[in-house]
Protein backbone atom coordinates (compact mmCIF):
# COMPACT_ATOMS: atom_id res chain seq x y z
CA UNK A 1 0.00 0.00 0.00
CA UNK A 2 1.49 3.27 -1.12
CA UNK A 3 1.70 6.14 1.30
CA UNK A 4 2.53 9.71 0.48
CA UNK A 5 4.35 12.49 2.25
CA UNK A 6 2.30 15.66 2.16
CA UNK A 7 2.55 19.07 3.66
CA UNK A 8 -0.35 21.32 4.53
CA UNK A 9 -0.65 24.66 6.24
CA UNK A 10 -3.45 24.59 8.78
CA UNK A 11 -4.50 27.82 10.43
CA UNK A 12 -1.18 29.28 9.39
CA UNK A 13 0.92 26.45 10.80
CA UNK A 14 2.85 24.09 8.52
CA UNK A 15 2.39 20.36 9.04
CA UNK A 16 3.97 17.36 7.35
CA UNK A 17 2.11 14.07 7.36
CA UNK A 18 2.30 10.62 5.88
CA UNK A 19 -1.05 9.57 4.46
CA UNK A 20 -2.56 6.70 2.55
CA UNK A 21 -3.93 7.52 -0.87
CA UNK A 22 -7.41 7.06 0.53
CA UNK A 23 -7.00 9.08 3.72
CA UNK A 24 -9.81 11.61 3.83
CA UNK A 25 -8.90 15.18 4.62
CA UNK A 26 -11.28 15.21 7.58
CA UNK A 27 -9.45 12.26 9.11
CA UNK A 28 -6.09 13.93 8.60
CA UNK A 29 -7.41 17.01 10.39
CA UNK A 30 -9.14 15.15 13.20
CA UNK A 31 -7.13 12.01 13.78
CA UNK A 32 -3.60 13.06 12.82
CA UNK A 33 -3.52 16.79 13.57
CA UNK A 34 -6.01 16.33 16.45
CA UNK A 35 -8.03 19.38 15.46
CA UNK A 36 -11.33 17.88 16.54
CA UNK A 37 -13.47 20.96 16.05
CA UNK A 38 -14.15 19.74 12.52
CA UNK A 39 -16.87 17.09 12.75
CA UNK A 40 -18.32 14.22 10.73
CA UNK A 41 -22.08 13.90 10.38
CA UNK A 42 -22.88 11.89 7.26
CA UNK A 43 -21.32 9.74 4.57
CA UNK A 44 -22.85 11.34 1.54
CA UNK A 45 -21.58 14.92 1.41
CA UNK A 46 -24.88 16.33 2.67
CA UNK A 47 -24.45 17.64 6.21
CA UNK A 48 -21.46 19.99 6.08
CA UNK A 49 -20.35 19.30 9.66
CA UNK A 50 -16.87 18.71 8.21
CA UNK A 51 -16.66 22.07 6.43
CA UNK A 52 -13.20 23.64 6.36
CA UNK A 53 -11.69 26.34 4.21
CA UNK A 54 -9.52 24.80 1.51
CA UNK A 55 -7.65 27.49 -0.36
CA UNK A 56 -10.13 29.93 1.19
CA UNK A 57 -13.23 28.15 -0.11
CA UNK A 58 -15.62 26.32 2.19
CA UNK A 59 -15.26 22.63 1.40
CA UNK A 60 -16.68 19.39 2.78
CA UNK A 61 -13.50 17.79 4.06
CA UNK A 62 -15.07 14.31 4.15
CA UNK A 63 -15.17 14.42 0.35
CA UNK A 64 -11.61 15.47 -0.32
CA UNK A 65 -8.58 13.23 -0.11
CA UNK A 66 -5.90 14.46 2.24
CA UNK A 67 -3.41 14.20 -0.58
CA UNK A 68 -5.53 16.54 -2.71
CA UNK A 69 -4.82 19.17 -0.08
CA UNK A 70 -1.05 18.70 -0.40
CA UNK A 71 0.55 22.16 -0.46
CA UNK A 72 -2.72 23.90 0.34
CA UNK A 73 -3.84 26.36 2.99
CA UNK A 74 -6.53 24.94 5.26
CA UNK A 75 -8.62 26.88 7.73
CA UNK A 76 -10.51 25.20 10.56
CA UNK A 77 -12.65 26.52 13.38
CA UNK A 78 -9.66 26.41 15.71
CA UNK A 79 -8.04 29.16 13.65
CA UNK A 80 -11.04 31.47 13.54
CA UNK A 81 -10.45 33.41 16.74
CA UNK A 82 -7.57 35.86 16.69
CA UNK A 83 -5.15 36.98 19.36
CA UNK A 84 -7.66 39.64 20.40
CA UNK A 85 -10.48 37.18 21.02
CA UNK A 86 -13.33 35.58 19.18
CA UNK A 87 -14.11 36.28 15.54
CA UNK A 88 -17.21 38.48 15.04
CA UNK A 89 -19.00 35.41 13.71
CA UNK A 90 -18.27 33.46 16.87
CA UNK A 91 -19.50 36.45 18.85
CA UNK A 92 -22.61 36.62 16.67
CA UNK A 93 -23.44 32.96 17.20
CA UNK A 94 -23.04 33.47 20.95
CA UNK A 95 -25.07 36.68 21.09
CA UNK A 96 -27.87 35.48 18.83
CA UNK A 97 -28.09 31.90 20.13
CA UNK A 98 -27.01 30.51 16.78
CA UNK A 99 -26.03 27.16 18.26
CA UNK A 100 -27.47 24.54 20.54
CA UNK A 101 -25.72 21.17 20.53
CA UNK A 102 -22.76 22.79 18.78
CA UNK A 103 -22.05 19.89 16.46
CA UNK A 104 -22.82 21.66 13.16
CA UNK A 105 -21.46 24.96 14.47
CA UNK A 106 -17.83 24.76 13.30
CA UNK A 107 -18.99 23.98 9.76
CA UNK A 108 -21.54 26.79 9.87
CA UNK A 109 -18.87 29.19 11.10
CA UNK A 110 -16.46 28.29 8.31
CA UNK A 111 -19.18 28.67 5.68
CA UNK A 112 -20.21 31.96 7.25
CA UNK A 113 -16.63 33.22 7.29
CA UNK A 114 -16.22 32.46 3.59
CA UNK A 115 -19.52 34.16 2.78
CA UNK A 116 -18.56 37.35 4.59
CA UNK A 117 -15.14 37.38 2.94
CA UNK A 118 -16.87 37.38 -0.45
CA UNK A 119 -19.99 39.34 0.41
CA UNK A 120 -19.58 41.62 3.44
CA UNK A 121 -23.21 42.65 3.46
CA UNK A 122 -25.35 39.59 2.67
CA UNK A 123 -29.15 39.65 2.73
CA UNK A 124 -31.15 37.03 4.63
CA UNK A 125 -31.74 35.20 1.35
CA UNK A 126 -28.04 35.18 0.51
CA UNK A 127 -27.16 33.89 3.96
CA UNK A 128 -29.77 31.14 3.73
CA UNK A 129 -28.44 30.12 0.33
CA UNK A 130 -24.83 30.15 1.50
CA UNK A 131 -25.52 27.85 4.47
CA UNK A 132 -27.83 25.51 2.55
CA UNK A 133 -25.10 22.87 2.42
CA UNK A 134 -24.80 22.81 6.20
CA UNK A 135 -27.51 20.94 8.08
CA UNK A 136 -28.53 22.00 11.57
CA UNK A 137 -30.97 19.89 13.52
CA UNK A 138 -31.29 22.15 16.58
CA UNK A 139 -31.69 25.82 15.76
CA UNK A 140 -34.14 26.07 12.88
CA UNK A 141 -31.58 28.33 11.15
CA UNK A 142 -33.33 31.61 12.12
CA UNK A 143 -30.74 32.52 14.73
CA UNK A 144 -27.88 31.38 12.53
CA UNK A 145 -29.02 33.90 9.93
CA UNK A 146 -29.15 36.56 12.65
CA UNK A 147 -25.70 35.57 13.87
CA UNK A 148 -24.18 36.00 10.41
CA UNK A 149 -25.92 39.36 10.06
CA UNK A 150 -24.55 40.38 13.47
CA UNK A 151 -21.03 39.59 12.27
CA UNK A 152 -21.60 41.42 8.98
CA UNK A 153 -22.76 44.51 10.84
CA UNK A 154 -19.91 44.37 13.29
CA UNK A 155 -17.27 43.80 10.61
CA UNK A 156 -18.89 46.48 8.46
CA UNK A 157 -18.74 48.96 11.30
CA UNK A 158 -15.13 48.05 12.00
CA UNK A 159 -14.25 48.43 8.32
CA UNK A 160 -15.98 51.83 8.19
CA UNK A 161 -14.06 52.93 11.24
CA UNK A 162 -10.79 51.86 9.66
CA UNK A 163 -11.70 53.69 6.46
CA UNK A 164 -12.60 56.82 8.44
CA UNK A 165 -9.37 56.62 10.33
CA UNK A 166 -7.47 56.35 7.06
CA UNK A 167 -9.32 59.36 5.64
CA UNK A 168 -8.66 61.32 8.78
CA UNK A 169 -5.02 60.47 8.42
CA UNK A 170 -4.98 61.84 4.87
CA UNK A 171 -6.66 65.03 5.99
CA UNK A 172 -3.91 65.58 8.46
Amino acid sequence: MATHQISVTVNGEAHAAEVESRTLLVHLIRDELRLTGTHIGCDTTHCGACTVLLGGKPTKSCTVLAIQADGCEIGTVEGLAGADGMHPLQEGFWEKHGLQCGFCTPGMLMTGAALLAENPNPSEGEIREAISGNLCRCTGYVNIVKAVRYAADKMGAAAAETANAATDGEDN
Binding site: S21, T45, C62, L65, Q68
Partner: protein
Protein backbone atom coordinates in the same frame (compact mmCIF):
# COMPACT_ATOMS: atom_id res chain seq x y z
CA UNK B 1 -17.47 5.25 5.53
CA UNK B 2 -13.97 4.60 4.31
CA UNK B 3 -12.99 4.09 0.66
CA UNK B 4 -11.20 0.89 -0.28
CA UNK B 5 -7.50 1.14 -0.95
CA UNK B 6 -6.17 2.53 -4.22
CA UNK B 7 -3.11 4.30 -5.53
CA UNK B 8 -3.26 8.00 -6.14
CA UNK B 9 -1.54 9.78 -9.00
CA UNK B 10 -1.37 13.50 -9.60
CA UNK B 11 0.08 14.13 -13.05
CA UNK B 12 1.43 17.61 -13.65
CA UNK B 13 0.45 17.70 -17.30
CA UNK B 14 -2.00 16.24 -19.75
CA UNK B 15 0.57 14.01 -21.48
CA UNK B 16 1.61 12.54 -18.16
CA UNK B 17 -2.02 11.94 -17.28
CA UNK B 18 -2.67 10.18 -20.58
CA UNK B 19 0.47 8.13 -20.07
CA UNK B 20 -0.74 7.02 -16.65
CA UNK B 21 -4.14 6.06 -18.04
CA UNK B 22 -2.37 3.96 -20.62
CA UNK B 23 -0.08 2.24 -18.15
CA UNK B 24 -2.27 1.68 -15.13
CA UNK B 25 -4.85 -1.01 -14.69
CA UNK B 26 -8.30 -0.06 -13.54
CA UNK B 27 -7.63 3.67 -13.44
CA UNK B 28 -10.27 6.32 -12.98
CA UNK B 29 -9.96 10.02 -13.76
CA UNK B 30 -10.94 12.44 -11.03
CA UNK B 31 -11.09 16.19 -10.89
CA UNK B 32 -13.34 17.61 -8.16
CA UNK B 33 -14.20 14.16 -6.86
CA UNK B 34 -17.63 15.21 -5.60
CA UNK B 35 -19.39 12.30 -7.32
CA UNK B 36 -16.61 9.73 -7.37
CA UNK B 37 -15.40 10.01 -3.76
CA UNK B 38 -18.88 9.51 -2.24
CA UNK B 39 -19.30 6.39 -4.39
CA UNK B 40 -15.92 5.14 -3.23
CA UNK B 41 -16.78 5.83 0.40
CA UNK B 42 -19.94 3.77 -0.05
CA UNK B 43 -17.72 1.16 -1.75
CA UNK B 44 -19.92 1.32 -4.83
CA UNK B 45 -16.77 2.19 -6.77
CA UNK B 46 -13.30 0.89 -6.09
CA UNK B 47 -10.80 1.69 -8.80
CA UNK B 48 -7.26 0.43 -8.21
CA UNK B 49 -5.84 3.75 -9.38
CA UNK B 50 -7.03 7.30 -9.26
CA UNK B 51 -5.61 9.82 -11.69
CA UNK B 52 -6.26 13.28 -10.28
CA UNK B 53 -6.24 15.80 -13.11
CA UNK B 54 -6.98 18.61 -10.66
CA UNK B 55 -3.40 19.80 -10.62
CA UNK B 56 -2.93 19.99 -14.38
CA UNK B 57 -2.52 23.65 -15.28
CA UNK B 58 -4.60 25.31 -17.98
CA UNK B 59 -7.75 23.27 -17.55
CA UNK B 60 -9.53 25.71 -15.28
CA UNK B 61 -10.63 28.46 -17.62
CA UNK B 62 -13.95 29.62 -19.04
CA UNK B 63 -13.55 31.65 -22.21
CA UNK B 64 -15.22 32.43 -25.51
CA UNK B 65 -13.05 31.75 -28.52
CA UNK B 66 -13.74 30.90 -32.16
CA UNK B 67 -17.49 30.94 -31.75
CA UNK B 68 -17.51 28.70 -28.69
CA UNK B 69 -17.65 29.05 -24.97
CA UNK B 70 -14.89 26.73 -23.77
CA UNK B 71 -15.13 25.24 -20.33
CA UNK B 72 -12.02 23.44 -19.11
CA UNK B 73 -12.02 20.13 -17.31
CA UNK B 74 -11.25 21.64 -13.91
CA UNK B 75 -13.77 24.49 -14.05
CA UNK B 76 -15.98 24.27 -10.98
CA UNK B 77 -19.66 25.00 -10.70
CA UNK B 78 -18.76 27.92 -8.43
CA UNK B 79 -16.62 29.36 -11.25
CA UNK B 80 -19.64 29.18 -13.58
CA UNK B 81 -21.71 30.98 -10.98
CA UNK B 82 -19.13 33.75 -10.71
CA UNK B 83 -18.39 34.09 -14.43
CA UNK B 84 -19.39 37.39 -16.02
CA UNK B 85 -19.64 35.93 -19.51
CA UNK B 86 -21.91 33.15 -18.26
CA UNK B 87 -24.14 35.61 -16.44
CA UNK B 88 -24.38 37.79 -19.53
CA UNK B 89 -24.89 35.32 -22.34
CA UNK B 90 -25.59 31.87 -20.85
CA UNK B 91 -28.26 32.29 -18.16
CA UNK B 92 -29.21 28.65 -18.66
CA UNK B 93 -25.75 27.65 -17.43
CA UNK B 94 -26.13 29.85 -14.39
CA UNK B 95 -29.56 28.33 -13.71
CA UNK B 96 -28.01 24.90 -13.89
CA UNK B 97 -24.96 25.54 -11.76
CA UNK B 98 -27.02 27.11 -9.02
CA UNK B 99 -29.21 24.06 -8.46
CA UNK B 100 -26.47 21.45 -8.39
CA UNK B 101 -25.96 19.89 -4.95
CA UNK B 102 -25.19 22.74 -2.55
CA UNK B 103 -22.85 25.75 -2.53
CA UNK B 104 -20.06 23.89 -0.73
CA UNK B 105 -20.08 20.96 -3.12
CA UNK B 106 -20.10 23.41 -6.01
CA UNK B 107 -16.79 24.82 -4.82
CA UNK B 108 -15.15 21.56 -5.92
CA UNK B 109 -17.58 19.86 -8.29
CA UNK B 110 -16.68 20.39 -11.93
CA UNK B 111 -18.89 21.00 -14.93
CA UNK B 112 -17.06 18.45 -17.04
CA UNK B 113 -17.17 15.90 -14.24
CA UNK B 114 -20.92 16.36 -14.06
CA UNK B 115 -21.04 15.14 -17.66
CA UNK B 116 -18.28 12.53 -17.55
CA UNK B 117 -19.92 10.77 -14.60
CA UNK B 118 -22.69 9.67 -16.97
CA UNK B 119 -25.38 9.97 -14.34
CA UNK B 120 -28.77 10.80 -15.91
CA UNK B 121 -29.73 12.47 -12.64
CA UNK B 122 -27.02 15.08 -13.10
CA UNK B 123 -28.13 18.48 -14.32
CA UNK B 124 -25.60 19.62 -16.89
CA UNK B 125 -26.31 16.89 -19.44
CA UNK B 126 -29.79 18.24 -20.21
CA UNK B 127 -28.45 21.77 -20.43
CA UNK B 128 -25.63 20.71 -22.76
CA UNK B 129 -28.17 18.90 -24.94
CA UNK B 130 -30.23 22.08 -25.13
CA UNK B 131 -27.12 24.12 -25.93
CA UNK B 132 -25.90 21.57 -28.52
CA UNK B 133 -22.51 21.41 -26.89
CA UNK B 134 -19.52 19.38 -28.01
CA UNK B 135 -17.31 17.33 -25.76
CA UNK B 136 -13.57 17.39 -26.38
CA UNK B 137 -11.98 14.09 -25.44
CA UNK B 138 -8.22 13.85 -25.35
CA UNK B 139 -6.61 10.46 -25.72
CA UNK B 140 -3.27 8.98 -26.71
CA UNK B 141 -4.03 9.83 -30.34
CA UNK B 142 -4.89 13.44 -29.60
CA UNK B 143 -8.17 15.29 -29.38
CA UNK B 144 -11.50 14.26 -30.79
CA UNK B 145 -14.78 16.10 -30.76
CA UNK B 146 -17.89 14.24 -29.64
CA UNK B 147 -21.31 15.59 -30.42
CA UNK B 148 -23.28 15.80 -27.18
CA UNK B 149 -25.96 13.63 -28.77
CA UNK B 150 -23.45 10.81 -29.09
CA UNK B 151 -21.94 11.21 -25.64
CA UNK B 152 -24.32 9.48 -23.24
CA UNK B 153 -24.45 5.70 -23.53
CA UNK B 154 -26.63 4.80 -20.57
CA UNK B 155 -26.41 4.65 -16.81
CA UNK B 156 -22.90 5.77 -15.81
CA UNK B 157 -21.68 5.08 -19.35
CA UNK B 158 -20.38 7.59 -21.87
CA UNK B 159 -18.54 7.71 -25.17
CA UNK B 160 -15.26 8.39 -23.34
CA UNK B 161 -12.67 5.68 -23.79
CA UNK B 162 -10.80 4.32 -20.78
CA UNK B 163 -7.67 6.02 -22.07
CA UNK B 164 -9.38 9.37 -22.66
CA UNK B 165 -9.92 12.47 -20.57
CA UNK B 166 -12.77 14.91 -21.06
CA UNK B 167 -10.66 18.04 -21.39
CA UNK B 168 -13.08 20.68 -22.56
CA UNK B 169 -16.66 21.48 -23.34
CA UNK B 170 -17.55 23.63 -26.31
CA UNK B 171 -20.80 25.52 -26.35
CA UNK B 172 -21.69 27.48 -29.48
CA UNK B 173 -21.94 31.20 -28.75
CA UNK B 174 -25.66 31.97 -28.98
CA UNK B 175 -26.75 34.32 -31.73
CA UNK B 176 -28.59 37.52 -30.85
CA UNK B 177 -32.15 36.86 -29.83
CA UNK B 178 -31.25 33.77 -27.82
CA UNK B 179 -32.34 32.80 -24.35
CA UNK B 180 -32.39 29.68 -22.27
CA UNK B 181 -33.46 28.37 -18.92
CA UNK B 182 -33.03 25.32 -16.75
CA UNK B 183 -35.83 24.42 -14.37
CA UNK B 184 -35.29 21.70 -11.82
CA UNK B 185 -37.75 20.16 -9.40
CA UNK B 186 -35.97 18.87 -6.31
CA UNK B 187 -37.30 17.80 -2.95
CA UNK B 188 -34.82 19.96 -1.09
CA UNK B 189 -31.45 21.60 -1.61
CA UNK B 190 -28.87 18.94 -2.30
CA UNK B 191 -31.30 16.49 -3.86
CA UNK B 192 -31.07 15.01 -7.31
CA UNK B 193 -33.77 16.19 -9.68
CA UNK B 194 -37.21 14.67 -9.55
CA UNK B 195 -37.15 16.00 -13.08
CA UNK B 196 -35.45 18.85 -14.88
CA UNK B 197 -35.95 20.65 -18.16
CA UNK B 198 -33.43 22.70 -20.12
CA UNK B 199 -34.60 24.87 -22.99
CA UNK B 200 -32.49 27.09 -25.26
CA UNK B 201 -34.22 29.15 -27.95
CA UNK B 202 -33.15 31.61 -30.63
CA UNK B 203 -35.64 34.03 -32.15
CA UNK B 204 -35.13 35.97 -35.34
CA UNK B 205 -35.91 39.67 -35.68
CA UNK B 206 -39.56 38.92 -36.32
CA UNK B 207 -39.86 36.81 -33.23
CA UNK B 208 -39.87 33.42 -34.95
CA UNK B 209 -38.06 30.55 -33.32
CA UNK B 210 -35.11 29.62 -35.50
CA UNK B 211 -33.25 27.35 -33.10
CA UNK B 212 -34.60 25.23 -30.27
CA UNK B 213 -32.89 22.87 -27.87
CA UNK B 214 -34.73 20.88 -25.22
CA UNK B 215 -33.00 18.50 -22.79
CA UNK B 216 -34.45 16.56 -19.87
CA UNK B 217 -32.93 15.40 -16.58
CA UNK B 218 -33.52 12.15 -14.71
CA UNK B 219 -36.38 10.97 -16.85
CA UNK B 220 -34.70 7.96 -18.40
CA UNK B 221 -31.51 5.91 -18.04
CA UNK B 222 -29.80 8.58 -20.12
CA UNK B 223 -30.27 12.31 -20.45
CA UNK B 224 -32.88 12.91 -23.13
CA UNK B 225 -33.09 15.29 -26.05
CA UNK B 226 -36.76 16.04 -26.67
CA UNK B 227 -36.52 16.36 -30.46
CA UNK B 228 -40.27 16.45 -31.04
CA UNK B 229 -40.58 19.32 -28.60
CA UNK B 230 -37.82 21.16 -30.44
CA UNK B 231 -39.61 20.63 -33.76
CA UNK B 232 -42.84 21.91 -32.29
CA UNK B 233 -41.09 25.08 -31.20
CA UNK B 234 -39.17 25.65 -34.44
CA UNK B 235 -40.85 28.22 -36.62
CA UNK B 236 -43.33 29.17 -33.94
CA UNK B 237 -44.12 32.84 -33.74
CA UNK B 238 -44.42 33.90 -30.13
CA UNK B 239 -44.29 37.58 -30.65
CA UNK B 240 -47.52 39.37 -31.53
CA UNK B 241 -47.67 41.70 -34.49
CA UNK B 242 -45.95 44.95 -33.79
CA UNK B 243 -43.04 43.28 -32.04
CA UNK B 244 -41.85 43.63 -28.56
CA UNK B 245 -39.69 46.09 -26.82
CA UNK B 246 -39.76 47.23 -23.28
CA UNK B 247 -40.03 46.12 -19.77
CA UNK B 248 -39.77 42.44 -19.02
CA UNK B 249 -43.21 42.40 -17.40
CA UNK B 250 -44.80 43.53 -20.65
CA UNK B 251 -42.81 40.99 -22.56
CA UNK B 252 -43.99 38.26 -20.23
CA UNK B 253 -47.61 39.27 -20.72
CA UNK B 254 -47.22 39.58 -24.43
CA UNK B 255 -45.73 36.14 -24.86
CA UNK B 256 -48.67 34.49 -23.27
CA UNK B 257 -51.13 36.73 -25.12
CA UNK B 258 -49.68 35.97 -28.50
CA UNK B 259 -52.15 34.05 -30.54
CA UNK B 260 -51.68 30.37 -30.04
CA UNK B 261 -48.61 30.78 -27.84
CA UNK B 262 -50.10 28.81 -24.98
CA UNK B 263 -51.07 26.03 -27.36
CA UNK B 264 -47.60 25.80 -28.85
CA UNK B 265 -45.95 25.78 -25.45
CA UNK B 266 -48.37 23.14 -24.23
CA UNK B 267 -47.80 21.02 -27.33
CA UNK B 268 -44.04 21.27 -27.01
CA UNK B 269 -44.18 20.49 -23.30
CA UNK B 270 -46.37 17.48 -23.98
CA UNK B 271 -44.02 16.32 -26.71
CA UNK B 272 -41.20 16.49 -24.18
CA UNK B 273 -43.19 14.48 -21.66
CA UNK B 274 -43.96 11.87 -24.31
CA UNK B 275 -40.34 10.91 -24.85
CA UNK B 276 -39.59 10.31 -21.18
CA UNK B 277 -39.16 6.87 -19.69
CA UNK B 278 -39.03 7.60 -15.98
CA UNK B 279 -38.77 5.02 -13.21
CA UNK B 280 -41.09 5.18 -10.23
CA UNK B 281 -39.22 5.75 -6.99
CA UNK B 282 -39.33 7.79 -3.80
CA UNK B 283 -39.51 10.95 -5.88
CA UNK B 284 -42.77 9.97 -7.51
CA UNK B 285 -44.68 7.73 -9.87
CA UNK B 286 -44.10 7.38 -13.59
CA UNK B 287 -47.19 9.48 -14.22
CA UNK B 288 -46.03 12.21 -11.87
CA UNK B 289 -42.58 12.40 -13.42
CA UNK B 290 -43.97 12.48 -16.97
CA UNK B 291 -46.20 15.33 -15.97
CA UNK B 292 -43.34 17.11 -14.30
CA UNK B 293 -41.44 16.84 -17.58
CA UNK B 294 -44.39 18.61 -19.16
CA UNK B 295 -44.79 21.28 -16.48
CA UNK B 296 -41.09 22.05 -16.16
CA UNK B 297 -40.56 22.15 -19.93
CA UNK B 298 -43.40 24.66 -20.27
CA UNK B 299 -41.91 26.81 -17.52
CA UNK B 300 -38.45 26.61 -19.04
CA UNK B 301 -39.83 27.61 -22.46
CA UNK B 302 -41.52 30.67 -20.99
CA UNK B 303 -38.40 31.82 -19.19
CA UNK B 304 -36.25 31.10 -22.24
CA UNK B 305 -38.59 33.22 -24.37
CA UNK B 306 -38.53 36.08 -21.92
CA UNK B 307 -34.77 36.03 -21.86
CA UNK B 308 -34.51 35.72 -25.63
CA UNK B 309 -36.72 38.75 -26.14
CA UNK B 310 -35.22 40.74 -23.31
CA UNK B 311 -31.69 40.01 -24.47
CA UNK B 312 -32.32 40.32 -28.21
Amino acid sequence: MIPPQFDYHAPGGLDEALGLLGELDDAKVMSGGQSLLPMMKLRLAGPANLVDIGRIPGLDTIKERDGCLRIGANVTEAQLEESAVVAERYPILLDTARVIADPLVRNRATVCGNLAHGDPANDHPATMLALRAHVIATGPGGERTIDIDDFFHGLFMTALGEDEILTELHIPVPSPGSGGAYVKLERKVGDYAVAGAAVQLTLDKDGKVTKAGVGLTNLSFSPIRASAAEETLLGADFVPAGGLRGAIERVRDAITRASGADDIIAAAAQAAADVTEPVADRRGSVEYKRNMARVLTARAIRTALERAVAGG
